[in-house]
């Protein structure tokens, strides 16, 4: 959904922000660096790092964004444990659509990767579907922005 959101917004996001985090800057997303720094501090940092990250995000983006981001962190601290606690695999459609960036970002090497290897047909068709999806999202986003006006 991150890639789809960036394409819908007509941007050129850097998906490596997911695995590399604040090291790669904003990743093409408003306040991206401060958001990833906040997530990193909340998941793996000490209390001082977390307080600093919280203050920086609040100062840059406002208290409402800070609260929303903390809520998303809470939600995904749960989601990852449901996925891993129940041992679920990624759905085949998502496996196909995410094949390129999973390989680029090294996600297939995660200990929790229990998913099947894609068959030859799926590997061939997936880039075509990804290209079509990207085009559709960019057109939809452009229309939306035009309808909202300047």
């Amino acid at each position: 959904m991150l890639r789809a959101s960036i394409e819908y917004q007509g941007g050129e996001g850097d998906l490596s922000a997911v695995t590399e985090g604040s090291k790669v800057g904003d990743g093409g997303i408003a306040h991206g660096e401060k958001l990833t720094t906040f997530a990193e501090a909340a998941v793996a940092g000490d209390e001082a790092e977390l307080a600093t990250a919280r203050d920086a995000l609040r100062a840059a983006a406002g208290a409402e964004v800070l609260v929303d981001a903390a809520a998303v962190i809470g939600n995904f601290q749960r989601m990852v444990r449901i996925a891993d606690g129940a041992g679920i695999q990624l759905e085949e459609a998502m496996l196909s659509l995410s094949q390129d960036f999973r390989e680029d970002l090294g996600l297939d090497g995660f200990a929790s990767n229990r998913s099947r290897t894609l068959g030859a047909v799926a590997r061939t068709v997936a880039p075509v579907v990804r290209g079509i999806t990207k085009g559709v999202l960019r057109i939809a986003g452009r229309r939306r922005r035009r309808s909202e006006g300047p």
Partner: protein, 249 residues
């Protein structure tokens, strides 16, 4: 003062978040499907205790979490396999295995009890982690309510994509299927919803809190969030949090 009222928070906490958290606390305190209110509150307490558990710390640092034996720092209120489940899900979930899950069943835990404990554990984590991120003290756990578990069953099936048995949606009644709250327009129930579907009230709890913390099902397939944070920002935070947890899904 009511729970989750945040009088000392320097930041305004959205009313829908506080309301969802109050709902979740009442849900945990109540008798469930396979666990009593006292057992569910004990699971929530064990979830918090796992963060300070010496054995969990040792296992987390080990090359294999299954190479380290010992006893968890626990309250004594739950059976051993449930304590192990709660602690490992809390502290080292990405290295769990199907063999480990099977060993819990061999040690006497039922699949239904495991799924319910998993649901309560992750619900507690999601709320505690919000407080931690915001620099707020964790909310005291609720007092358990009296009552017996309902032991309501659903048609079940085993599928390759999930370790735990799931609701067989082909055999389930319309009412039982509705409990999964599948988003409109989604042709197949996503695996993350199926994961808890053996105990549908846990799916409902997941949805209730996710509506406030993330997005309601009707917004999940769109790009408008209705929040101060936009969808790309939301997914960046979600992706980074998942990546730090080494979650492939």
């Amino acid at each position: 003062m009511s729970a989750f009222s945040y009088p000392d928070s320097p930041d305004p906490i959205r009313a829908d978040l506080a309301e969802a958290y109050r709902w979740a606390w009442a849900h945990i305190a109540a008798s469930g499907t396979w666990l009593s209110g006292a057992e569910r509150v004990a699971v929530a307490e064990e979830t918090r205790r796992a963060r300070r558990c010496g054995l969990c710390r040792e296992r987390k640092a080990a090359l294999s979490p299954f190479a380290v034996d010992g006893e968890h720092d626990h309250s004594g209120a739950l059976p051993a396999p449930m304590i192990d489940a709660v602690h490992r899900v809390t502290t080292d979930a990405s290295r769990l295995s199907r063999a480990w899950y099977s060993s819990l069943l061999a040690d006497g835990l039922s699949a239904e009890q495991y799924v319910e404990a998993l649901g309560v554990t992750v619900l507690t984590i999601s709320i505690d982690e919000f407080h931690h991120a915001m620099g707020l003290a964790p909310e005291p756990l609720p007092e358990p309510a009296a009552g017996e578990p309902s032991r309501a069953t659903v048609p079940r099936t085993e599928i390759d994509e999930v370790w735990v048995p799931v609701m067989d949606v082909r055999k389930a009644s319309r009412e039982q299927r509705a409990l999964l709250g599948t988003p409109p327009g989604v042709p197949k129930v996503p695996n993350v919803i199926r994961a808890l579907s053996l105990v549908p009230e846990q799916v409902n709890a997941w949805v209730q809190v996710a509506n406030a913390q993330y997005l309601s099902p009707d917004k999940m397939l769109g790009f408008e969030t209705g929040r101060a944070i936009d969808r790309a920002q939301m997914e960046l935070v979600a992706g980074r949090t998942s990546s730090l947890n080494e979650c492939f899904y």
